[in-house]
């Protein structure tokens, strides 16, 4: 870990800049990148530095943007397609799912392609608040990285840009400005390796991306009540570090899984289902999930807040696992 402190977006910039420097096959395309540096400043400065061929502005054509990435990747390049908001991936789902994800399996040719998008709940109305990570996780052939710290942004994007396969790289809106230290040019963060975001011995809160912060807050609250909760940050949903979760279940038998997607069919379901199957006899209570209600998220902040899991919800879920009434019901 170098001692440089920077924002989430700057960490992305730096990781991409370093990799573009060492590999001329890497280029990035998307809307409003060259001048503006993207809507979250995620590639700010790269335009002037690498020129218009390597930081390529596109029209609003998400399907063709991803198709461009797939074709160029097959030709031997390593494109970064910046979709801006993940919601706009909905206009390119065939290119992502049928083409990028399947070509290696079907035709034997890897597709080194990074698809970056800002995701997560903030504001702006229901069309800009989709949580699609469970879809991507369900798609064989796609890797899904969802960092929660600047260090992981940089380390994961570097790994992605040295990998031969398509990666969906999601950065939470609310984390864009979050600051932290990042690693040096050779510090890669591996995919499929969870990170202990807060150590703890009594139970484990498993989460990723935008809910790592709230989970840590919940753990602080719980520690005030004498419950020492671990927070595990998955960092990638595929490959997924199930071993770390199962191991936690074996250690203390209490697992809570949290994200901010609508609960029904979210990534928390897969994790809960796997853990209870792999560690059934170690569990002192059900693997407990915390997520959003089944509803679109509108414009009103109070309605959004009501729909999303709160720190209190996470605390309550953990509490439930220590409630003798519930656990011995």
């Amino acid at each position: 870990m170098s001692n440089q402190t920077m924002t989430f977006s700057e960490a992305f910039q730096q990781g991409v800049r370093e990799e573009m420097g060492r590999n001329s096959d890497i280029f990035v395309l998307g809307t409003d990148l060259f001048e503006r540096g993207g809507h979250f400043a995620q590639v700010k400065g790269l335009g002037p530095e690498f020129g218009q061929e390597r930081v390529r502005d596109t029209p609003i054509s998400e399907a063709a943007m991803v198709a461009a990435g797939v074709g160029a990747a097959l030709y031997g390049l390593h494109p970064i397609v910046d979709l801006n908001f993940v919601d706009f991936a909905l206009g390119a789902m065939d290119e992502i799912t049928n083409q990028a994800a399947k070509i290696r399996f079907m035709l034997g040719r890897p597709v080194p392609l990074l698809i970056r998008a800002t995701h997560g709940i903030a504001l702006g109305g229901a069309h800009h608040q989709n949580s699609l990570e469970a879809w991507f996780m369900h798609t064989p052939g796609l890797a899904v990285a969802i960092p929660s710290t600047p260090a992981d942004v940089k380390g994961l994007v570097k790994t992605a840009l040295r990998a031969p396969d398509p990666v969906i790289f999601l950065m939470h809106k609310r984390l864009s400005g979050q600051r932290g230290e990042v690693g040096g040019p050779d510090d890669l963060v591996p995919f499929g390796q969870a990170r202990v975001a807060r150590p703890g011995t009594a139970c484990t809160i498993v989460t990723y991306g935008g809910t790592v912060g709230p989970a840590i807050q919940a753990a602080e609250t719980l520690s005030g009540k004498g419950i020492d909760a671990e927070v595990l940050d998955l960092r990638t949903l595929w490959p997924i570090d199930l071993d770390a979760v199962v191991d936690a279940a074996r250690r203390h038998g209490r697992i809570v899984v949290v994200d901010e997607a609508p609960l029904v069919g979210s990534a928390t379901a897969e994790i809960a289902a796997q853990v209870q199957q792999a560690a059934f006899h170690y569990l002192d209570g059900p693997v407990t999930r915390v997520g959003a209600i089944r509803a679109p998220l509108g414009a009103n902040p109070k309605l959004i807040e009501a729909a999303l899991p709160s720190v209190a919800d996470i605390v309550a879920a953990v509490d439930g696992l220590f409630d003798p009434a519930q656990v011995t019901a």
Binding site: D57, S61, L123
Partner: protein, 330 residues
Amino acid sequence: MADDETPTAQLREWLEQMLLIRAFEETAEKLSLRGRIPGGIHAAVGQEAVAVGVMSALRENDVISSTHRSHHHALAKGLSPDGVMAELYARRDGVVGGRGGSMHLASFPLGHYGGNGIVGAGAGIAMGVALGIQHRRDDNVAVGFVGDGGVNVGRLWEAVNLAAIWSLPLVVVVENNQYAVETHVNRVTGGGDIVRRAAGFGVAAERVDGQDVVAVHRMIAGARDRAVSGAGPTLVEAVTYRYYGHNTGEVARYRTQEEIADWRSQRDPIDSARARLVAASALDDDGFAVLETAAHARVEKAVAFAEASPQPDPKTAADNVDAWDVAVTR
């Protein structure tokens, strides 16, 4: 008469509407900068004549489907400034109860079928409405709005093609304000001619000066007649300009201050409507000041309304997603 055909009373009304939109947008931008509007806005200052020209050519039961930059459409379609401002505030008295926000204004009784957060999607929905109209053999038309950036979304052309082959009563209005965020239309639009592109799909296609409310009105009135007569859809490219940034607080480096100043001083839709009325001796400076003051007063009332409107009840966050918890009816 302000000119050969447009009665001054009508033009005056359009001027009033444009003034209302201008005052609304200028105010909304300020409120947004002050953090009153969750998520910010896309102001349409400069594009008033498109909205007013289009809506003035429509009948009450005609339907529009709109975009992310759409307050002007909503106001011109007759939605109350109170309800629109309250919706920007995402409050309970907003036109859709605070669930939509700036990009998702709607009023089904007034024929406004919604803004859209997805570039190009509103025009697709308008095409579907036109299909519904044809199916019912109604005399209405559907109008779908899209920006110059939206003409590079492939799905738009699927919709235009369907409208063409089925002769749907659809009018697509492309508000070509020259930029999609910071991207100039000429940089990303192969062929450089939206009208020609549309013609290739077999729709009638025409370009109009979007800063001239009378010209827009006439163009749309013609397209409406054609649509209702069964002769099929029209795509109208309205050439216009947005004076403000793409969204709240944007710092624009992609265009010069001169360019903005040129449009504002040479081609302002309000100035030209005013000049016409003055030339026809139907308005003087005092009269204009009265209209402007009235517009601002109306907007101030809307702000007060929005500020006073309560938040939606958090308990309703999961309400009205679907009706599957209730018995199947009909």
